[in-house]
């Protein structure tokens, strides 16, 4: 049963089978994306316009950055349920430093320390969570759930449930401006994607994350400091949450604890749609990004057609379920042909 579940979720043809080559897995997702674009353009002549792409380009990075924050813990065989509230807390740190530096009149002298402190706060949250997971052996789901509840309570207590707003124009630029026509959040997201891909494929830490995600003990026996690596998994995740928190704060020009809460489970599903193994050890950055773009195109397309927002959410879920079932069937067919 567990095996069938694993197949449903990951689309892997079962243990022992060679993994799907990177090129083919991206190709399938690109084909789905292309099909969706053609479909929506056929239904509505307003779909293939700059406005649609602008809306996608500004919305994608928030969900995307949080998904990157979720990706590495999943690869390590864990999960980080605290991503959205970590982002909120880092956003709050940014907001407070800016308030202290003069609110809407705060200059670069306040902005730069504000960003640095926001990133540090994300790293500290991640470090605490990672250390708990790595040293006590607590299950990441429970540890991060506890962290999530702690952060939510702390944030709501400190803000009395309200929001902090009124940032200088430089901050708004981060969330709403553009560089040579490209939205700034998208530039930030692209940079983060590049860094993540580099860490996962070309560093010792990235190598260790995949190995320990498959088998922690065997990795430890091979002489890798798995406690350090596991701690770093959550530190990286925390830093990425902080980046997401900064982008979110600047896009809405305010910070409220609970912002983006609905993204949490979508980030998990985006990872699985991007063929990340839910049990850890396998998954790449590129397909996850493609999966995100697909989800966003569906969201924007349906929005454009005037579909109810809730129906759009239901469709996301429906599409994910059908993808899993299709992968399972495909795995069976391919297995029989072999």
């Amino acid at each position: 049963m567990k095996q069938i579940l694993a197949q449903l979720l990951s689309g892997k043809p079962g243990p022992g089978a060679a993994s799907v080559p990177a090129a083919r897995e991206n190709l399938a997702l690109v084909a789905v994306l292309f099909g969706l674009v053609v479909l929506f353009s056929a239904i509505s002549d307003r779909f293939l316009t700059g406005a649609t792409f602008a809306s996608i380009a500004y919305q994608l990075p928030e969900l995307g950055l949080l998904t990157l924050a979720m990706l590495i813990p999943i690869l390590s065989g864990g999960l980080n349920l605290a991503v959205t509230f970590s982002a909120n807390i880092s956003g709050l740190v940014l907001a407070w430093v800016l308030m202290w530096g003069g609110g809407a009149d705060a200059g670069l002298t306040a902005l730069i320390p504000a960003i640095i402190l926001a990133l540090v706060s994300g790293a500290v949250i991640g470090w605490v969570l990672g250390a708990v997971v790595a040293y006590t052996g607590a299950h990441p789901i429970l540890a991060s759930l506890a962290m999530m509840i702690f952060l939510r309570g702390l944030g709501e207590f400190l803000t009395r449930g309200g929001s902090v707003s009124g940032f200088p124009p430089e901050v708004t630029w981060l969330g709403q401006g553009n560089v040579m026509g490209i939205p700034v959040p998208l530039v930030i997201f692209a940079l983060c994607v590049g860094i993540w891909a580099l860490i996962l494929t070309r560093t010792r830490l990235g190598f260790a994350i995949y190995q320990l995600g498959s088998n922690l003990e065997a990795t430890r026996y091979s002489g890798i400091n798995t406690r350090w690596a596991l701690t770093m998994v959550y530190v990286l995740s925390g830093i990425m949450c902080a980046v997401a928190g900064i982008v979110m704060a600047s896009r809405f020009n305010s910070v409220r604890v609970g912002h983006g809460e609905a993204y949490l489970l979508i980030t998990v599903l985006a990872c699985f749609l991007g063929r990340v193994d839910p049990f850890g050890g396998f998954g790449r950055v590129a397909p996850v990004i493609l999966a995100l773009v697909i989800l966003q195109v569906i969201g924007s397309g349906l929005n454009l057609l005037g579909t109810n927002q809730h129906l759009a959410t239901a469709l996301w879920g429906g599409i994910l379920i059908s993808v899993m079932v299709m992968r399972f069937i495909w795995g069976r067919v391919a297995g029989r042909m072999r």
Partner: protein, 505 residues
């Protein structure tokens, strides 16, 4: 000639096969096989993994059709064009290693299953089923509660249920695929008694096993296959394990104790009064470069626990480890690896390799520092060179380096484990039961590597509970019992029997 044991004087054959071949696409799985068995005979089918044993069994039980030209006779009647249902009706039964029982159903239901299949009227007569199952178990001379669900039984008892199911179907020829693989010695003895009983009731049994001692004890003849070809059928009388290994692998092995070493180089490792509460106590020994020291003893003697402390995974409570003349304190296995100590775990599946990950990644996981290129990033080029180099040096048979390491055979997996540790350029290599789950032929290959490593000056601590393994491959043997080193043997000065007696005493 090979077929000296197959004269027709002992009565007609139950089953006779000649010129049986089978191809799957480009693979010649069986190539001109001969096989025969008499009623009530116990015969062993021997050969390494992939030699064609399973294909032959499937051909005889009607799953595969042989290539045209095959002669297949059942009591002198032609039986080509066989299908599984007919094979069963004739009395050919196969008990595969996984037994194919229904774990949630009762013992009686499992045994009577075949009888109920397709029976009319389509109702299940529980009373008749129990009666029948009870009668069969009695015939086997065993007692198993008829109403117990099969999942609650031990492996040995499940095996008996599978055998009973075969008997219900009026079996006349029973194949047993590796039936003793997960049985203890006592259970194996009981199974051998059952097989004898079947033989007395004129049921022929074909026994497939890796354990050569067992093969020679149970069967009157042994048919050997190698790489899908027929090697021969031999009487087990006068056959030795060494000779059988040779027939199965096609190469002869040097079964002689290593000559006693005359030189005595300074030890690289000296263990002094090492103690860890509840695991081992007051252990002292040393090991020199180029020396293979065997460490043997029964399960639970503290062998692996001692090795784990030498590898830095656990910390001793008392005593000293002197490494290259200086005391060594290991905080973790990373310290041990840095010092030049490598440990090949006895548990290859969950500790030795990261099974689902690739062959390449498993090879380099211990030496990531050496793969760094510009900007402290891992260099794919350096990685490929290192992997190719080790796969070549240890002659590992692989498909692609990107395949999961779990796709390799036991012997080749063990070579990857050796590669990943040799890549760290160790000075002491601890091998903990390095041949568990490795074919007879592949074992010899592993020990050939070990021998060469010792010649190159590596110190090797070889842990094994198989006395012949340490006797034939080590310069000295340390015998451990209940956490203490109790004696030392020099193979060149003693006999294998003496060592075996000492261990089992």
């Amino acid at each position: 000639m090979n077929n000296d044991a197959t004269t027709d004087e002992r009565g007609p054959y139950l089953l006779r096969l000649e010129h049986v071949s089978k191809r799957f696409g480009g693979v010649q799985a069986l190539d001109d096989i001969s096989f025969n068995i008499r009623p009530g005979e116990v015969l062993c089918l021997a050969g390494e993994n992939g030699c064609g044993k399973s294909t032959l069994i499937k051909t005889i039980s009607g799953v595969h059709r042989p290539e045209p030209g095959a002669v297949m006779e059942w009591e002198g009647q032609d039986m080509t064009g066989l299908d599984p249902a007919r094979a069963r009706a004739m009395g050919i039964q196969v008990i595969w290693q996984d037994l194919a029982l229904f774990p949630e159903m009762s013992v009686a239901e499992n045994i009577a299953f075949e009888r109920n299949l397709g029976a009319r009227p389509r109702v299940v007569d529980a009373a008749a089923m129990r009666r029948e199952a009870g009668a069969i178990l009695e015939r086997l001379g065993v007692s198993i509660p008829l109403d117990a669900p099969v999942r609650s039984l031990s492996i040995a008892n499940r095996q008996l249920v599978a055998i009973a199911r075969a008997l219900v179907a009026d079996a006349r020829l029973v194949f047993m695929d590796e039936p003793t693989a997960s049985l203890s010695q006592k259970e194996t003895d009981a199974l051998i008694a059952i097989v004898r009983r079947l033989s007395e009731q004129n049921i022929a049994v074909v026994f497939v096993s890796h354990r050569l001692a067992e093969v020679l004890e149970i069967s009157s003849r042994v048919t050997v296959l190698r790489d899908g070809r027929y090697v021969g059928t031999y009487s087990t009388e006068g056959m030795t394990q060494a000779r059988l290994t040779e027939l199965m692998t096609g190469s002869s092995f040097d079964y002689a104790a290593r000559p006693e070493r005359t030189d005595r180089p300074a030890p690289i490792l000296s263990v002094k009064n090492l103690t860890r509460e509840g695991e081992y106590r007051d252990v002292s020994f040393d090991i020199a470069p180029g020396e293979v020291v065997g460490l043997t003893g029964r399960l639970g003697s503290g062998r692996t626990e001692l090795a784990l402390s030498l590898f830095g995974m656990t910390r001793p409570d008392a005593g000293e480890i002197i490494w290259q003349g200086r005391p060594l304190r290991l905080q973790s296995n990373r310290d041990a690896i840095r010092a030049g100590i490598a440990y090949v775990s006895e548990d290859r599946l969950s500790l030795g390799l990261v099974q689902p990950q690739s062959i390449a990644d498993n090879t380099v996981v211990t030496v990531l520092d050496r793969l760094l290129g510009p900007g402290k990033l891992l260099s794919p080029k350096k990685k490929k060179r290192l992997v190719d180099d080790w796969i070549d040096r240890l002659r590992v048979k692989i498909g692609a380096a990107g395949d999961p390491v779990s796709t390799l055979s036991g012997g080749n997996q063990q070579r990857i484990v050796l590669a990943k540790w040799l890549a760290t350029e160790p000075k002491l290599l601890i091998l903990d039961s390095p041949t568990v789950g490795v074919d007879v032929g592949a074992r010899a290959g592993i020990f050939a590597i070990v021998d060469q490593l010792a010649k190159d000056g590596l110190a090797i601590l070889l842990i094994s509970d198989e006395a012949p393994e340490v006797y034939f491959n080590a310069d000295r043997i340390l015998h451990m019992r209940d956490g203490r080193l109790i004696e030392e043997f020099i193979p060149a000065r003693t006999t294998l029997d003496h060592v075996e007696e000492a261990i089992h005493a």
